[in-house]
């Protein structure tokens, strides 16, 4: 404990020093330790988690602390009014997924198509973040809400130096934000975008956090905050909608890749797509390739493309549909799907990839039950071996742009993630329904090594790019033997059936791009290097007892150890 507190003092001193000299963007993006690690999209959120680890908390305590803190220091990307998915790999052998996705309000019907506005009260779903984090803490943590929320409250109340990333997001939001007196009072002092380095205080958010810390999630779902949400959304989210919300404990998606165990988030997010892509890719030999070889890019891209073709017809809210996970995740099915891929020619057009015929395939075989057990991994790892991976979101930056007056947080705009009602496609499993979760592509993921030890904890923002970014990072480490830092920094691409072209981040050699075009890929290369569009992996790697944490290079992330 003495060493822990000494470490904490040192850490706090570093934070103060960094704040004073204003060079915090790079420091801490890569960190090593043997005691535990927290990697998030913001150094201060990672520090919050590390503070809890140093105080004796386990990985769940630290993850919840970091998750609340990230809503403060990155309020555009996640929020008390947002949602998420958490995957846990506990040292006692349990693997758990906590689904705290948002749900449609009760008055929604299938005929509510996407004519609803993208922003504003009618774009919102019932937020799940507070329930999810509280559930995780209560069931798997060791500390109280008040203890783990203390860093977040401190950051909101005392403020923190505005970083360039958040300043850019505020600047991008200037047009609508300047017309909103509630939001502009916080983020546009004097009506202007604040300077990098200025102290950002979020007093109303601190108030909301303090209420939750003192009274638990009931204040959010059954108390004054619920009423405030109802008022802020003009009744679109009703008090009764909030009252009935509950996070759901689910079994994680389990698969293997070249002997490693992969633990992902179950439907209706993208863990299954990641697992399918890796299963398909496993049928090809990547030995001898490097990340920039067109042959490797082609095989990875085609695997992702084929895997994503099954997402639309088969992946929906598991509380409404039976998702055929056993078949989707079986190695035999992957062999069949891999047969669609020609190493010498790209599938074009991309949306010509057919979904798999599962009814026919179930005659072949199902998943090995040995792989359907439980194990998971996250962006937090403690010295006992507990790991937690969380991906949480508001959907769009700033979500619905509806800020709850007096409580200082934004509400998500998840409703647009449902599909349009289409009378010609009555089988669509992602149409609006009351209390249903819209399908999205978040993919918190954990990889265990051949000894069954936590090896890699990762996840990413980036909407439709998430499965590609997660798969490529795993392949970079396992197949190409990269360090975690290099695996994250290396350029990324995105491939899925719904993209007409292969989207390529800046940094690939021109020869590879030419070769990909020769294979029949249509390329979109108008992206910069380390482009935020391709996500922002925050990850932890354990190798030879050394824990390496890396905060995203595409998003000013940070890693912190106790």
């Amino acid at each position: 404990m003495n060493r822990a507190y000494t470490g904490l003092r040192g850490l706090l001193a570093c934070v103060v020093l960094v704040g004073l000299i204003g060079v915090g963007a790079v420091a801490g993006q890569v960190e090593t330790s043997t005691e535990g690690m927290v990697a998030t999209a913001h150094q201060l959120a990672s520090d919050a988690g590390a503070e809890i680890l140093a105080a004796g908390g386990n990985a769940v305590d630290a993850a919840v602390a970091a998750a609340f803190a990230i809503t403060v220091v990155e309020p555009n990307a996640s929020s008390l009014g947002g949602e998420g998915f958490m995957v846990l790999s506990l040292a006692d052998g349990r693997d758990i997924a906590i689904d705290y996705r948002s749900v449609a309000p009760g008055h929604i019907t299938y005929e509510d198509d996407n004519d609803e506005p993208r922003y504003g009260p009618e774009s919102t779903c019932v937020p799940g973040l507070v329930a999810g984090l509280a559930t995780a803490l209560e069931d798997y943590g060791t500390m109280t809400l008040a203890e783990v929320m203390a860093p977040a409250i401190r950051l909101a109340k005392n403020g923190f130096p505005l970083d360039e990333g958040l300043q850019t997001r505020i600047s991008d939001a200037y047009e609508w934000m300047s017309a909103d007196p509630t939001a502009s009072a916080v983020y546009l002092p004097d009506g202007l975008v604040p300077d990098v380095g200025s102290n950002l205080v979020q007093a109303d958010m601190a108030h909301a956090l303090e209420l939750i810390a003192a009274q638990g999630p009931k204040i959010f779902y059954r108390g004054e905050i619920a009423l405030a949400i109802e008022a802020a959304t003009e009744g679109f989210l009703g008090y009764s909608d909030l009252q009935r919300y509950a996070a759901v404990i689910r079994n994680p998606v389990l698969s293997t890749y070249r002997g490693y165990e992969v633990i992902g988030a179950p439907p209706n997010v993208a863990g299954a797509t990641v697992a399918q892509a890796l299963n398909i890719l496993e049928t090809f030999d990547l030995a001898g390739y490097t990340w920039s070889d067109s042959g490797a890019i082609h095989l990875i891209a085609e695997s992702l493309k084929v895997a994503s073709a099954d997402r639309l017809p088969y992946v929906g809210d598991p509380d409404f549909f039976e998702v055929p996970l056993d078949t989707l995740l079986s190695k035999e099915y992957a062999e069949v799907r891999a047969g669609l891929i020609d190493p010498n020619s790209a599938i074009f057009p991309t949306n010509s990839v057919p979904a798999g015929d599962l009814e026919a395939f179930e005659l072949i075989g199902a998943v090995d039950e040995a792989y359907s057990a439980s194990t998971t991994q996250v962006s937090v790892l403690d010295d006992a071996g507990n790991a937690v991976s969380i991906t949480q979101t508001l959907s769009s930056f700033w979500g619905s742009r509806v800020m709850v007056p007096g409580y200082g947080f934004f509400i998500n705009d998840e409703l647009h993630n449902f599909n349009d009602y289409n009378p010609d496609n009555l089988a669509d499993i992602n149409v609006h329904e009351p209390f249903k979760r819209p399908r999205t592509v978040i993919a918190p993921t954990i990889v265990r090594d051949t000894e069954g030890e936590v090896f890699l904890v990762l996840g990413s923002p980036g909407a439709g790019r998430i499965p590609s970014t997660v798969v490529e990072t795993i392949v970079n480490v396992i197949d190409f033997g990269m360090t975690l830092e290099d695996a994250i920094r290396t350029p990324k691409f995105c491939s899925r059936v719904s993209y007409k072209e292969l989207r390529i981040e800046g940094g690939y050699p021109q020869a590879a791009l030419d070769a990909l075009e020769a294979l029949g890929h249509t390329l979109k290369t108008s992206y910069g290097e380390l482009d935020l569009y391709f996500g922002g992996i925050n990850a932890i790697l354990v190798e030879d007892g050394v824990i390496t944490g890396v905060g995203s290079f595409r998003r000013d992330g940070g890693a912190s150890a106790p």
């Binding site: 850019t168 991008d172 300047s178 004097d190 202007l192 975008v193 300077d195 990098v196 380095g197």
Partner: protein
């Protein structure tokens, strides 16, 4: 400087040349070759904290701008919308059009362009940076045809610098009659976060010097309020 009430510490004058430390902004007139050494010496003295010795009134050519002004963006960042807020605080009669048309220039006496590219903003406007440059060139040509004077502003700091933003700066700042930049004056300490410094590399200073354009340096966006008050000789209400 007729029509430009300089209430502040003057440590260099135009054609001599000048840098005026305004209440909130730091204004500099470009130096001509023959007096560059003298100007540099004064700046060095200032850097040593001896600015008080240079308090004097200077005579320069008129640099008064007249109202009403039209505020627009070149690069479609949020800077122009913020310039509108600054103009309101200054009491300036101005119209804000995020992407003004040539017709919008009619009736305006001054064009205020805010430089800085935003990929998000360009995307929302449905143009790329090349299209933006083409459009802005036409806007400048029309302004010159109508004898409208132009103020170019860059008020979003170092985070609004980069290849596309710099293209708007290097293309249009040399064509302006006056520059306002949130950034450091040469040889002076920048006390705010470095990311807030839009002139850390001296690009604006170079452009101002090479093209003999007067320039005002501000440390915070709000500093542009006082610069506009002086440039437009706005009298306080009441």
């Amino acid at each position: 400087m007729e029509g430009l009430p300089l209430r502040s510490n003057i440590h260099c004058n135009r054609r001599g040349e000048a840098a005026a430390v305004a209440l909130h902004g730091k204004r500099e007139m470009p130096m001509k070759h023959g007096r560059r050494t003298w100007g540099i010496a004064v700046l060095l003295i200032l850097a040593l904290g001896l600015a008080a010795v240079a308090q004097e009134e200077v005579q320069t050519e008129s640099m008064t701008f007249t109202q009403p002004a039209l505020i627009t963006s070149i690069g479609q960042s949020a800077g122009a919308a913020q310039a509108r807020v600054v103009a309101l605080k200054a009491g300036l009669e101005a119209t804000y059009m995020q992407r003004a048309t040539l017709e919008d220039l009619e009736g305006s006496s001054t064009l205020i362009v805010v430089l800085g590219a935003s990929s998000k903003g360009l995307g929302a406007a449905g143009v790329d940076i090349d299209g933006e440059i083409t459009w802005a060139t036409e806007l400048f040509d029309k302004a010159r045809e109508l004898e409208i004077r132009i103020i170019a502003m860059h008020i979003e700091g170092g985070s609004r610098r980069g290849p596309s933003s710099d293209l708007t700066i290097t293309t249009f700042a040399p064509l302006a009659d006056y520059l306002i930049v949130k950034g450091s004056m040469p040889d002076t300490e920048w006390t705010a976060d470095e990311a807030a410094n839009g002139n850390a590399d001296g690009l604006f200073t170079t452009i101002a010097g090479e093209n003999e354009i007067p320039i005002a340096y501000i440390e915070a966006t709000l500093g542009a309020v006082d610069v506009l008050i002086e440039l437009f000789d706005i009298q306080p209400e009441g």
